[in-house]
């Protein structure tokens, strides 16, 4: 065991949620080098959408990531709206904000589920997936689907809020607030959990920024960066919420940031539903956009996701590039892994919130 050896953790391995490979070089049990290998789930999404009409791409955007499909769906619609030169009605903007934040909570709970399994606690997994069900029900009521919502449309949203929706949401949020405290107690008062997360996978803010990290991982390294504040879209400029940061930059900090973010998301949902103005939820858009290109970025649950769209005046996009936050976060993982033990790999990569669907596209 004194020689170094390469270990392929993947493409089929219990720790990677999705189809990818992490090659790690071990000296004993300590990692001396790491290399993520992706591409096992490459579906040619960007080529595929070049041969689809604009409205046809909306459900395809859902399939970029099943964990947070609404955020991709919304990003595509927002980009297309800017390309078409239309703007969604005010009511649609508020509904989108509420739906997006619900999606953020479900996405974070899915992430917590994955962290639980990676660290070996199936209780964390089942509890968080139970809590997630609350929001899946709400989103199902809103859009009619549980996973791939296909809810946003170019020029608004598909349908208005269902009857008594605000009441249901507020009840659910009250219930979730209580359960979230239980969930936090399960981890924050759990000595083995702290042993596994404190001081692991450390990265400071400057390095993280240079490596392109965004989202909760960057915020956990002590960078107050949130595109909802820095580059507001939809109705986020009117929302009052805090950007959750943590200074340690380790696995525990990343866990903490996401848990706090769920609280902030709950605040935003309440605000957005309470302040939503009356009016239509969708406007008509022309069939073909004008020539040109447009770039649009939003704060996905995992970080900065960006779409760059080029139109040649026909009914299909000429080029659509997706910047997936996970793609870059994953490329920045080797510096976090080196120097830690192989047992820390699931902890470090687990809090990354891997979604290979959007990474490989």
């Amino acid at each position: 065991m004194t020689d170094e050896m390469w270990i392929n953790m993947g493409p089929q391995h219990p720790f990677n949620h999705g189809l990818w490979n992490l090659r790690v070089k071990l000296k004993g049990e300590t990692i001396t080098a790491a290399e993520p290998i992706i591409g096992y789930l490459h579906r040619g999404w960007e080529k595929m959408v070049e041969n689809r009409a604009y409205p046809q791409i909306v459900p395809l955007a859902d399939r970029l990531c099943y964990g947070s499909s609404l955020s991709w769906n919304h990003l595509y619609c927002l980009t297309a709206e800017r390309l078409f030169g239309v703007e969604a009605p005010d009511r649609a903007k508020y509904i989108r904000v509420a739906a997006l934040e619900m999606q953020r909570i479900t996405s974070h709970l899915t992430w917590l589920m994955a962290v639980g399994t990676d660290l070996g606690s199936y209780t964390i997994m089942t509890w968080s997936i139970r809590e997630r069900e609350l929001f899946l029900d709400l989103l199902c009521k809103l859009s009619g689907a549980r996973m791939t919502y296909n809810y946003c449309r170019i020029g608004g949203v598909r349908n208005d809020l269902p009857e008594n929706y605000e009441r249901d949401v507020n009840r659910t949020l009250d219930e979730f607030d209580r359960r979230l405290r239980d969930l936090e107690a399960l981890m924050d008062e759990n000595e083995p959990f702290l042993m596994r997360t404190l001081g692991i996978g450390k990265m400071d803010g400057r390095t993280a920024m240079n490596l392109g990290l965004t989202g909760p991982i960057l915020r956990a390294s002590g960078v107050d960066m949130d595109l909802r504040k820095l580059d507001p879209y939809e109705a986020y400029a009117d929302m009052k919420f805090e950007v959750c940061t943590h200074t340690d930059g380790d696995v525990y900090a990343r866990y903490r940031v996401r848990m706090d973010e769920m609280r902030e998301s709950m605040k935003i949902i309440r605000q957005a539903l309470a302040e939503a103005p009356a009016g239509p939820v969708r406007v008509k858009v022309p069939r073909c956009p004008p020539k040109g290109n447009v770039v649009c970025r939003v704060e996905d649950p995992r970080g900065e996701s960006l779409m760059y769209m080029v139109s040649d005046g026909t009914e299909r996009p000429y080029r659509l590039k997706v910047r997936s936050p996970n793609f870059v976060n994953l490329s920045a993982s080797p510096p976090m892994l080196v120097g830690f033990k192989i047992s820390d790999v699931p902890a470090i990569m687990g809090v990354m919130d891997m979604c290979i669907g959007e990474t490989d596209r």
């Binding site: 391995h13 089942t126 509890w127 083995p192 033990k341 047992s343």
Partner: protein, 361 residues
Amino acid sequence: MATLYTVLTDFTQWLMDLIAAILDWTKLGILSDLGDWLQSAPVVDFVTTLLVAVIYLITVMMFALCFIWQERKFLGRFMDRRGTQVGVLGFFQNFADGIKVVLKEHIVPKDSDHALFEMAIFTYLASTFMLFGCIPFSDNFYVIDVNLAVLLGIAIFAFGPFSILVGGWASNNKYTLIGGMRAAAQLIALEIPLLLCVVSVVVLTGDLSFVGIVAWQEENIWLIFPLCIGALTFFIAAIGESERIPFDLPEAEAELVEGWATEYGDIRWGLQMASDYFRAYILCALFTMLFLGGWAGPEFIWAEAWFLAKTFIVFFFFIWVRAATVRIRTDQILKLGWRRLLPLAVINLLIAVALKVAEVF
């Protein structure tokens, strides 16, 4: 008092008499001699022991299988789900699983060391089954009651890591190799505090047979009260020895797939998996006998029932720990074993010696 031994001795005697009578009836000198030999005391004794062992093994395996069922149901309740549902209260799940693994194909990796690969799992299982022989159910339902039963049991127990290491190495797989190494390191680190706790019990009771230890506790006091530190140390070390969460590093599925047993399939894997529960059963039984007074209890139910009830309660705490915690790292386990449990065990031993010297009991 008609114990199992006396009943079975009568039965064997009757059986041998019958066979001898049939052999006599043939009027062949050589067969009559065989009949006489079969009636002799050593043969009757041997056959009786064999019969007791078979009955005992089947009984214990049934109860150890109940452990799997108990874990499934209790873990389910801890996680807010129902647990297995196959058959009556989900009890047939074990049999379904058993039939499944029996029907699987036996695969030996091409470049593995075939002889060692087969031998390792065989010795591992053999040592587990041998342990059953050392653990009595009550003072009249046991296989052997040698004077050094405690030492014998612990010695057989310590044989496990050797098999794991050999099996992990022979599989020719990096995961199994790391798993085997971890198992060896972890089991040795926890074996010593475990043994010191047993020694403290032996010092206080002055007996090395389980029957004697339980009799002493029946006369004086359950040892969990004077030796509470030792009971706690033994409990923690026992969780580690049975390779359960939070100490299931040798088969941490998030990083090592299935640990040292990755390459085993079919019934070998099935028995290896069951053998984790057999070992957990043995450790729970040891805990019951060393600290909880074994089969001692009010006599409105059988002594065996008392013994089993206590064992199941101890295992309930095992499940509780598993449901509440996450897996911890190898270095943390070693640190825990050498720096925390070992001093505690030594302190406990000193207490036992002091109690003995002061002749409190």
